[in-house]
Amino acid sequence: MSELEYDPNLHTAELDAREDHAPGDEPEESAGHWVRNSNLGLGFSIVLTLAAFLAVGSHLIWGPAVGVALIVLAIGQMGVHLVFFLHVTTGPDNTNNVLALAFGILVVFLIVAGSIWIMGHLSHNMMPMDRLMQMQP
């Protein structure tokens, strides 16, 4: 079966535009392309990371909104990693990988949001008053 197939160049040369790609894989490019790709990823990441630290360390952002800014920056940076380091794209060759990713994100969302929602209601309903006070940092 698949084993009979033979990788002549042992790398991506034989990948065809119409076939599925393994995650993290891409059609053959020159080494320069990959380096450029990594450089871009690094650049974006540095900017986003610095922005996050800056948001905390300075007073550029209205206090209560800092958390939101951090979350947005984190999501952005995860996206950067996915695209530039994990080579996730929207191409048809990537459909299956992206679908799996979407499924994973759905699961993570359900668990985290569901748990926080449920636990929030439980605590809100039943935490005795002075313990509730103690919970406020």
């Binding site: 079966m1 009979l4 499924f103 759905l106 668990i111 569901g114 748990s115 449920i118 636990m119």
Partner: protein, 670 residues
């Protein structure tokens, strides 16, 4: 040196576990002795223990599951008899023993009986139905199996050394924390489930990849047999939720071993979070069990009605629908915890919505029979028994999904009856049906009809006589997990339930006798055609038993029902398709890595349970060494020469030709 372990760990003061385990140990020694005396070790090692063939692994899973099913059944017999005897009386099992029994029963049945059987059938059938030669990762598959076996072994070791958990099949803290459960019981639970859980997770990964990436030419998604769809859905659920189990148990372990405070009732720990997380796994888990069973029924209804499955598209949609919604309902296991009306409403409604997907399936199976020629063979009997039983169990499930109704029967015998109703009537019936259905493909002969039918009838009647009284007891306020009962009025129903267990025992005996009789009379039950049931999917295109490479030439699927299409074409033209050009086949080589991993997992698990740290360290180091050695392996495949392939396949073709001739005559006669 030996951590908490000492001679007093052996329950010399408790006759029942002691005698059981001595008998068990003697049996095992006897079997091992027999194997040694007969010199079967090399054969076992070569052909089974190190095998990476999905069919062999599937069979070993089923064997493990069946043995554990019997162990779980023994526990069930003890529970039902204890409750019948312990009405205003102590009965014969003291609480610390009885509590181990229901915990072990639930744990064993779910993790080590139902899961291995389900995964066993998945393993055996999926690659055959997809028309390929193995799963995506054959060696990993073997690792999965052996890890499951390792977990099962640990659970059974607890019988003889130490104790098992006394906290239920899902050990709610703080009861399961070190303060309230200082013994090793919960640790046995944690490591046994953790180890087998890792195995299951790898199975899930393996089968998602197999179904999505390993299909024979022409097998587009919407041509896959229904069973493959349910395997995909169940595997996706495994991948999505087994990590939750791993994480939750890891947190409880940290609490117990290192004094963390995830779930303690001190220092701000939050036991409700355990309940929340464990059900985020636990509810999807029951659909992991039942979805493949649905797949089995789909195959059987269609085959034994002589028709394609009714509403295939709806079935696919319903399966995926259940798969997704199953992850959004977990709170229904703790409606009574106090999350409030808004949360209860949301989860109550999402729970009951699952009934829509399930209902569609039920109706589609019914309409598959419409206009068919229904043959009441054993698998079909189980399937009809399933519809009857499951529909009622599902209905009581929807009752539990209504929060105010659940406020009355949460944790009651009504609940116990509900889940046995769906698990036994859905999963276990499905597994028995599937085993009967695919047995000839695995071993080359059919199971005996008469004994199979007897087993079915006793199981069906026994089930209802056992569990119908529990529904009523639940409505009378009887709660679950009672070691003894203080209410005299419940006696008649408890006695009736015990009678039901008696009938179930007869059913189980019939099942075993069926197996023995079939083996003894295998020559007259032989399936020479490879297609004993007039099947419709690709597994029936292979000879029985299937050769280790499954298909000499990978099939090329051209229609919705892959094999039916080929078969019709052959009948129509009264000849087989021309002989293909045989080419050498590459197959994965056997590997001891699964057995090796599981061996060290068992040792490490045992060491951690008894806190023998040096041994645990040693086990982990050996595991890493094994990983490196395995990674160094160079030969991954071997070639089956074309002549060998041709020889096997020509034998198959001649059987087919004979079949064709007979069919042709029959066709002419009608």
């Amino acid at each position: 040196m030996f951590g908490k372990l000492s001679w007093s760990a052996i329950p010399l003061d408790q006759p029942i576990p002691l005698i059981t385990s001595v008998v068990l140990i003697l049996t095992i020694l006897g079997v091992l002795g027999l194997v040694t005396a007969k010199g079967w070790w090399p054969y076992l090692w070569r052909e089974w223990i190190t095998s990476v063939d999905h069919k062999r692994i599937g069979i070993m899973y089923c064997l493990l599951g069946s043995v554990m099913l019997i162990r779980g059944f023994a526990d069930a017999i003890m529970m039902r008899s204890q409750q019948a005897l312990a009405i205003n009386a102590p009965g014969y099992l003291p609480p610390e023993h009885y509590n181990q029994i229901f915990s072990a029963h639930g744990t064993i049945m779910i993790f080590f009986a139902a899961m291995p059987l389900v995964i066993g059938l998945m393993n055996f059938v999926t690659p055959l139905q997809l028309g390929v030669r193995d799963v995506a990762f054959p060696t990993l598959n073997s690792v999965s199996f052996w890890l499951t076996a390792s977990g099962a072994l640990l659970v059974n070791v607890s019988l003889f050394i130490g104790e098992f958990a006394r906290t239920g099949w899902l050990p709610y803290p703080p009861l399961s924390e070190a303060t309230y459960s200082p013994g090793v019981g919960v640790d046995y639970y944690l490591w046994a489930v953790q180890i087998s859980g890792v195995g299951t997770l790898m199975t899930g990964i393996n089968f998602v990849t197999t179904v999505l990436k390993m299909r024979c030419p022409g097998m587009t998604y919407l041509r896959m047999p229904m069973f493959c769809w349910t395997v995909l859905a169940a595997s996706l659920l495994i991948v999505a939720v087994f990590p939750i189990l791993t994480a939750t148990l890891a947190m409880l372990s940290l609490d117990r071993y290192f004094g963390f405070h995830y779930f303690t009732n001190t220092a701000g720990g939050n036991p409700m979070m355990f309940v929340n997380l464990i059900w985020a796994w636990g509810h999807p888990e029951v659909y992991i069990l039942v979805l493949p069973a649905f797949g089995i029924f789909s195959e059987i209804f269609s085959t034994f009605s002589g028709k394609p499955l009714f509403g295939y598209r709806s079935m696919v949609a319903a399966t995926l629908f259940i798969c997704i919604v199953a992850m959004m309902v977990w709170l229904h296991h703790f409606f009574t915890m106090g999350a409030g009306a808004a949360v209860n409403t949301a989860f109550g409604i999402s729970t009951s919505i699952i009934a829509v997907g399930t209902g569609v399936k039920i109706y589609n199976w019914i309409f598959t029979m419409y206009g068919g020629r229904v043959r009441f063979s054993v698998p079909m009997l189980w399937s009809l028994g399933f519809i009857f039983t499951f529909v009622i169990g599902g209905m009581t499930g929807v009752l539990l999904a209504v929060p105010p109704a659940d406020f009355l029967v949460h944790n009651s015998m009504f609940l116990v009856a509900h889940f046995h109703n769906v698990i036994v009537g859905g999963v276990v019936f499905g597994l028995f049906a599937g085993i009967d259905y695919w047995f000839p493909k695995a071993f080359g002969f059919r199971l005996h009809e008469g004994w199979g039918k007897a087993a079915f009838w006793f199981a069906l009647v026994g089930f209802w006589v056992t569990f119908a009284p529990l529904y009523i007891l639940g409505l009378q306020g009887m709660t679950r997990r009672l070691q003894h009962v203080n209410i005299e009025e419940w006696r008649p129903l408890l006695d009736l339930s015990l009678v039901g267990v008696g009938i179930l025992i007869v059913g189980a005996v019939c099942q075993v006798v069926m197996l023995v009789v079939s083996i003894l009379r295998r020559d007259e039950l032989r399936d020479v055609t490879g297609d004993p049931w007039d099947g419709r999917s690709l597994e029936w295109a292979t000879p029985s038993p299937a050769p280790f490479f499954n298909f000499a030439v990978m099939p090329n699927v051209q229609g919705e029902e892959a094999y039916w299409d080929i078969k019709l074409r052959a009948v129509e033209s009264q000849q087989l398709s021309p002989e293909p050009r045989y080419e050498p086949i590459e197959m994965p080589v056997n590997s001891p890595v699964g057995f090796y991993t599981a061996f060290f997992a068992t040792v490490t698990g045992f060491a951690l349970i008894w806190q023998i740290w040096w041994l645990a360290g040693l086990g982990l180091a050996a595991a890493f060494a094994g990983f490196v050695v395995f990674a160094w392996r160079d030969v991954h495949e071997f070639h089956v020469p074309a002549e060998e392939v041709a020889r096997v396949d020509r034998a198959r073709r001649s059987a087919r030709e004979a079949l064709l001739e007979r069919l042709g005559q029959q066709g002419a006669a009608t």
